[in-house]
């Protein structure tokens, strides 16, 4: 397994230096500070994957104004910290979502809206939607409801912010640690037509998995 991704927040050399100078606890303080900044600034990638996208405009515009909490939308996954999966995911969408998720830079988080990503929701017997999203990508916060109101979406943001602030283990760390599990699930459900993962050579997961 590649273990570089779930290290400490600050780079190791700086950490060593701090420890040498007897300021080991400065490291913890700085990590706390960085986590606070992370929690105060969350960029959301613009991807309306399902019904929940209809409650995104109210959340981000003047009535509910998510920007006052530092949550803003960005166009590309490269710049984003958070992807909101708003509802059920068709297999065709799941493929793009995985791609988008893998293009996001760590740390990255996932919020899902509605009950469909949890257990299939209303579409539990549909042949084209997935039933259990956390088999394929890790989810940090589930916001339930159909549709979740903007207030609940904001509550989900607050919950995520709390978790980031406390430095809790987030979904992306689970994804990196259990890559094989996720990739196997993705392969099972998407068949042989899975998109290449440029970060991970998942055909050779036994040999480290790094392309």
């Amino acid at each position: 397994m590649e273990s570089g991704f779930h290290g400490s927040d600050l780079d190791s050399s700086l950490k060593c230096k701090l420890e040498e100078s007897g300021m080991a606890n400065t490291h913890a303080i700085m990590e706390k500070a960085v986590n606070w900044f992370r929690s105060r600034s969350i960029f959301v990638v613009a991807y309306g994957t399902g019904c929940g996208a209809i409650e995104m405009p109210p959340t981000f515009t003047s009535r509910y104004d998510a920007e006052r909490m530092g949550v803003v939308g960005v166009a590309t996954p490269r710049q984003a910290d958070l992807i909101i999966l708003s509802g059920y995911l068709a297999y065709k969408t799941l493929r793009r979502v995985i791609r988008t998720y893998e293009q996001m830079q760590r740390p990255k988080y996932v919020i899902t809206l509605g009950s469909c990503p949890i257990n299939g929701g209303m579409y539990w017997d549909s042949y084209n939607t997935i039933k259990k999203l956390d088999d394929y990508i890790p989810v940090d916060v589930y916001v339930t409801g159909c549709m979740p109101r903007p207030e609940s979406v904001i509550e989900g943001f607050v919950l995520l912010q709390e978790r980031i602030k406390n430095g809790e283990k987030a979904g992306w760390q689970k994804y990196d640690e259990n890559l094989k599990f996720y990739k196997d699930n993705q392969k099972r459900v998407l068949g042989g037509h899975i998109d290449p993962s440029y970060e991970t050579d998942w055909y050779n997961l036994e040999n480290g998995g790094v392309a």
Partner: protein, 370 residues
């Protein structure tokens, strides 16, 4: 294919801020001029028609509103009316009025959301902030009336699910006054905005003959001078007793469609005011219907049309004598617009026009693929 020799290929969607919903358009560009456009849908395919086959009427009723996310009510209305046609249920006057009211409310809300999208597509970030908020006031009323902000599950076969709360009509009346004022503001900031005009006029022009033949509906049709509206041509509910105009323009471009939508918003306000006045005090709101398991559809088929905010939406429904629906097929306004029309309009237009054209056609991906 020879003229695609030196083009580059880009995707406009699904993960793109300039796309309406979750769909994509594959573009071959020469410079920024589009040489070939191909629509891709299926990112939201849930197989509704299959799901409905496995459900009884009452069960199916709860999911049909999810077919088109920005505008669920025409779906409910279509479903309810199709079932009523098949089983011969007659609904009361009051239920008819309430259904007409909620359809018009939905139309207004959708147009406000559209306005946000249309302004956002040309980078006018102010209008979405305002109009989405204005739409939210309507959603509050929906919540009061039906209990749901977005999905209402209100128009049940045989009537509506519950009665109007006390004081609701006054609130609606106030909101209409507010909206009328707001539309003047939007007129100044958006519809008369020089930049919107300079970008929208002459872009995405639809030919009138083609529009009729190819089955374009709604504002796309009316913006090229053809006065067709299901509410007038095949009146349902109370539309034959309400006064309203059908706004048309002759240019057929993006700007004409925008103006038609604006005029329709004013007409919706006019209709709602009439409904508020005429709304019967008493009356049955829901007919007596058979119990869940006994609600059976005869072995027959029917075809119903409703004018949604983006054009005529049709349902084909067939029963087979059992409690389950044999077949329900949805034909939303977006299907032909997103494929036949969009792929044609985009060729030789600019990349910058894609989002704007798409918005003005009122394309809603979930109803294309259901």
């Amino acid at each position: 294919m020879s003229d695609l020799k030196n083009t580059i290929k880009i995707f406009h969607g699904p993960q793109h801020p300039g796309i309406t919903g979750n769909m994509s358009v594959e573009l071959d560009l020469l410079g920024e001029t589009i040489k070939r456009a191909q629509t891709h849908v299926g990112y939201l395919h849930r197989g509704f028609e299959k799901l409905v086959e496995r459900r009884t009427v009452v069960q199916a009723f709860t999911i049909v509103c999810r077919i088109c996310v920005p505008e669920p009510d025409p779906n409910e209305e279509n479903f309810a009316r199709a079932v009523e046609n098949l089983t011969g249920l007659e609904i009361s006057e009051k239920a008819k009025y309430i259904r007409t009211m909620i359809l018009e409310m939905q139309r207004l809300a959708t147009q406000f959301l559209w306005m946000g999208g249309q302004a956002g597509s040309i980078g006018l970030g102010l209008i979405p902030q305002w109009s989405v908020c204005d739409r939210d006031y309507m959603l509050d009323l929906f919540e009061e009336l039906t209990g749901g902000r977005v999905y209402h599950m209100y128009a049940f076969p045989g009537g509506v699910r519950r009665d109007i709360p006390d004081g609701f009509l006054d609130k609606l009346s106030d909101l209409m006054n507010y909206y009328e004022k707001r539309i003047t503001v939007y007129n100044n900031t958006f519809f008369d905005n020089t930049i919107f005009k300079s970008r929208a006029i002459g872009v995405g022009v639809v030919n009138a003959d083609e529009a009729l033949k190819n089955g374009y509906v709604g504002q796309t049709l009316r913006a090229c001078g053809i006065k067709r509206d299901v509410r007038r041509d095949m009146p349902y509910l109370k539309y034959d007793q309400l006064e309203f105009d059908i706004p048309t323009r002759t240019e057929g471009d993006v700007y004409a469609r925008a103006l038609v939508r604006r005029d329709e918003m004013l007409q919706s306000i006019r209709i709602l005011r009439q409904i508020i006045k005429q709304m019967p005090k008493d009356g049955e709101i829901l007919q007596k219907i058979p119990k869940h398991r006994k609600f059976k559809l005869p072995a027959d088929d029917t075809y119903v049309q409703t004018e949604s905010a983006r054009g005529a939406m049709s349902y084909y429904m067939a029963g087979d004598g059992s409690e389950k629906i044999r077949r329900m097929q949805v034909r939303g306004p977006s299907l032909v617009h997103a494929y036949t029309l969009l792929e044609k309009l985009l060729v030789d237009s600019q990349l910058a026009d894609v989002a704007m054209t798409m918005n003005s056609l009122g394309i809603c991906p979930p109803e294309i693929e259901r």
